[in-house]
């Protein structure tokens, strides 16, 4: 039985002081419901990591009631920065299991607390007993991978820096993006060091935002939408939360496993993908993500970006949204943004960089590559 996305919605990403969790979720969620003519969902799945920053858990019931669906089954799914993709995976499974209409909302409100508090909580995605106890920030953990990768494959600072330049070039044209400004390579590679070798422009911003996708079973999808986008595969995979017990520090094995499984389920190869949204929490994450998706050999992605690959007009075009770097990273919402953005590309109504695409992919990564969901969509 096929599953389709029949409605999407999203808020602008940013430091949205005037909007709470419920405001953000309602803005995105109800936009998606409006797209299907206000047909009520049979269940709501919420992707979120840190609603505790707003002193608010129990998001399923809270949002079902606030959005006007009191009584409907609803709950939150958490997989660190991969919570949005995980919520998509659960929503998709519910439709495969027999529900006809499921609303998936990803929502995050990171600026409710002072930045040091938010930064500390984000590091909770690491292993508390064997990593966090020594004091690494989340950027620090990614910096460990970035140094190893650059050293092992002889990747230059300029080559790594080209990732941010491409993301900002794309995000500049996305009206939903958090940081809508172009940057040049010199700005990136001379920006302040956060966790050597990660500099400010290697890192995504701390963002608020919400996105939603309305999933429907096949018959229902054709009734509710003239432009259903088919979910060809949703594949989740995990790795150790700690980076220490992994065989390799130069790749994200859960991302590789998730992508392979998604391609197999969809019956396609990496070369069939026209547009992809990959998870670039840091430039190293983006580079490893591109390689995990099979768009570049291990050790090659940063060099290819530096040579001009993956820009608009190339196949695949990567992160026309601007990625986490420029669109922003409202962590538990990001995976839902990515799927909604790819859906809009396939429908031809994304309001930023537009890609003429038949097949799209979204890759959402939680932790330092420990919980990954890859989704394949087709027009």
């Amino acid at each position: 039985m096929r599953v389709a996305v029949v409605g999407v919605g999203m808020t602008r990403v940013g430091r949205l002081v005037g909007k709470s969790i419920r405001d953000l979720a309602a803005e995105a969620g109800l936009k998606a419901v409006e797209e299907v003519g206000w047909e009520p969902p049979e269940a709501i799945v919420v992707g979120n990591m840190l609603s505790s920053l707003s002193e608010q858990e129990n998001l399923g019931a809270l949002l079902a009631d606030y959005l006007g669906y009191r009584g409907v089954p609803a709950f939150k799914v958490e997989a660190a920065c991969g919570s949005g993709g995980a919520a998509i995976a659960v929503g998709y499974s519910l439709v495969r299991a027999g529900l006809r209409r499921v609303l998936v909302i990803g929502v995050e409100k990171l600026t409710e607390a002072p930045t040091p508090v938010t930064t500390r909580r984000l590091a909770w995605a690491s292993d508390a007993d064997y990593e966090l106890v020594h004091g690494p920030s989340f950027a620090g953990l990614n910096a460990l991978l970035m140094r190893h990768y650059m050293s092992k494959y002889g990747v230059s600072r300029e080559e790594m820096g080209s990732w941010a330049v491409l993301m900002h070039e794309n995000g500049y044209r996305n009206p939903y993006a958090h940081i809508r400004k172009r940057v040049d390579l010199q700005t990136v590679i001379n920006s302040p060091v956060i966790a050597d070798p990660i500099r400010l422009f290697d890192a995504c911003p701390i963002s608020d935002g919400a996105a939603a996708v309305y999933l429907a079973a096949e018959g229902e999808a054709r009734r509710l939408s003239d432009t259903p986008v088919w979910v060809e595969a949703v594949a989740n995979a995990t790795d150790a939360v700690d980076i220490l017990s992994r065989k390799y520090l130069d790749r994200l094995e859960a991302a590789i496993r998730s992508a392979r499984e998604a391609y197999k389920l969809a019956g396609i190869k990496p070369k069939d993908v026209d547009v992809a949204e990959v998870h670039d929490a840091y430039s190293i994450t983006g580079v490893l993500g591109v390689e995990a998706m099979g768009f570049a050999e291990i050790g090659r992605a940063a060099k290819l970006v530096h040579e001009g690959r993956f820009a608009p007009g190339d196949k695949p075009t990567i992160n026309p949204s601007g990625g986490l770097k420029s669109r922003g990273h409202p962590v538990g919402a990001t995976g839902v943004y990515q799927v909604a953005e790819v859906v809009m590309q396939l429908r031809g109504d994304f309001p930023g960089v537009r890609v003429d695409a038949e097949v799209g992919a979204a890759q959402n990564v939680g932790g330092v590559g420990s919980n990954v969901t890859t989704t394949i969509l087709r027009r």
Partner: protein
């Protein structure tokens, strides 16, 4: 930030650098798990990791998380086939990839209760501008 009870609970294994070896595939397993992540076997034997090894990768964190000082220097070193994370508390100026380190006890941060605590940490023994035997 960690808590006093977490440190109390794990103090013995932290201090002894406890790990496991898989009796079936021979791999060293660190941090400890309930099965071998490489072959799936539950036939594991507890081991103690050696206290000397080499740096695989490291980072100097200028924006540390609450409870830790600026900069916080974190390294991953290979100790007897395991990758172990710890702070670099001595000889950081000699830190390079492949530098030799030994495990010492270092004051690393503060608990949620505000107490300073010690953990196994790295001292750089030989690396940039430093050969083994140069220090005591």
């Amino acid at each position: 930030m960690t808590s006093v009870q977490r440190l109390w609970r794990r103090s013995r294994e932290y201090l002894s650098l406890k790990a496991f070896r898989c009796r079936r595939c021979g791999e060293v397993i660190y941090p400890p798990k309930r099965a071998c992540p490489y072959c799936g076997s539950r036939d594991l034997v507890e081991i103690t990791l050696p206290r000397k090894g080499r740096i695989i990768t490291y980072t100097v964190i200028n924006v540390p998380i609450e409870g830790f000082s600026k900069p916080t220097i974190i390294a991953v070193a290979e100790l007897g086939g395991a990758k172990v994370m710890a702070q670099v508390v001595e000889g950081a100026e000699h830190l390079v990839e492949d530098a030799e380190v030994e495990v010492v006890l270092g004051k690393v941060g503060r608990t949620v209760e505000g107490l300073e605590y010690y953990m196994p940490a790295f001292r750089v023994v030989s690396g940039k501008d430093l050969k083994e035997g140069d220090t005591d």
